[in-house]
Symmetry: C2
Subunit: 207 residues, 2 copies
């Protein structure tokens, strides 16, 4: 999988096939990159418009930050596939090999790290979805709201993938620390998402 | 944009640029296709496994139905771009042209139709996310949950895009009918999503 070569159809096919990679984690990273791209579109349709002159500067910030997020998320899509394949390799080590357990635990920790990064980056994108939802060109408001839905979904995908890996990790201190940080992040994300959903409702986009 | 030729990176770039297409609607259709693909992956990792023999038949149904959904959603991604461009064309007609209003209204109705189809198809995908979440291979359970998040997000994107188009449509009967049907669909989707989220919590995937 290569974001510069893989077509949309090929990516769907690679996801759908009988192999576990690319799985939810890589898909979540691509979806978060699409959310970032939608934020850029809204910002691009807002800058240079007299009506939105007050938000020129913040829209420039959206463009810059979402570029960074997209780069990062594309990298995470690869990293997720690589990390999962490492876990699969470790699982193939014969059970009587004394190095198996340590190798597997190390691989699992790495495999928990990547979706945690996805969860964090999805939070960053969601913050900017809030900016475009509040101050973006009203003609593209449904695109800003769409970006928020995708960033929120990507966050939850990150969370699911952290938790499925934590469930096999024996290092209790590691698990405790990750769960604590994840809970903090989740509370922040739920708060931002809730306030965007309220905005959606106020603006008549809830049926 | 062509799902068989456009790469992931190109699609992000096309979304991000200063033109309104591809926008939220096309992105929503691609995301729903990815949700369908994740359901297929979970089904592929479930069929042929002794432990899941009881669900062999229903997993075959997942595979078949999600193929149909993917085809349909890829088509909707194109249709969304085309329908929006028609609206843009109609908006360019000089305001003193007596045919302008009718042409614009016709284009807007078509532009409301496509995201409605997306909302319906996202509902179909979500139904199968419920199947894979309940009966799919436990090793891929986070992928089933991920599929549900994406299908739900795609439904809401469809809803936002129906509503933004309805807001410019003058035919009150058309608007009333669409809103009524959309509300019915939304209640169904919220119900399925809620029950998947309960399953997620029961299985320890909520922090």
């Amino acid at each position: 999988m290569n974001v510069e070569k893989t077509t949309l159809k090929e990516f769907c096919d690679m996801v759908a096939d009988k192999t576990p990679t690319p799985g939810g984690g890589a898909v979540g990273a691509i979806v978060a990159a699409l959310a970032a791209s939608l934020n850029q579109m809204v910002a691009n349709l807002t800058v240079g418009k007299k009506k939105y002159a007050d938000f020129e500067e913040i829209m420039e910030e959206v463009l810059e930050n979402m570029n960074y997020s997209r780069e990062k998320l594309q990298q995470l899509a690869y990293d997720d596939i690589k990390a999962f394949n490492k876990v699969m390799e470790a699982l193939k080590i014969p059970k009587d090999d004394p190095t198996r357990s340590e190798k597997l635990q190390t691989a699992l920790k790495e495999a928990a790290d990547i979706p945690f990064e996805l969860a964090r980056e999805a939070r960053n994108v969601l913050k900017f979805s809030q900016v475009t939802s509040k101050h973006g060109n009203k003609n593209a408001i449904s695109d800003a709201y769409s970006s928020a839905e995708l960033a929120y979904a990507a966050f939850r995908i990150g969370m699911y993938n952290v938790l499925i890996n934590l469930s096999s990790i024996k290092d209790e201190e590691f698990v405790r620390k990750y769960k604590e940080e994840l809970e903090e992040l989740k509370n922040e994300v739920e708060g931002i998402y809730k306030s965007i959903r309220e905005l959606v409702k106020e603006n008549g986009f809830e049926i």
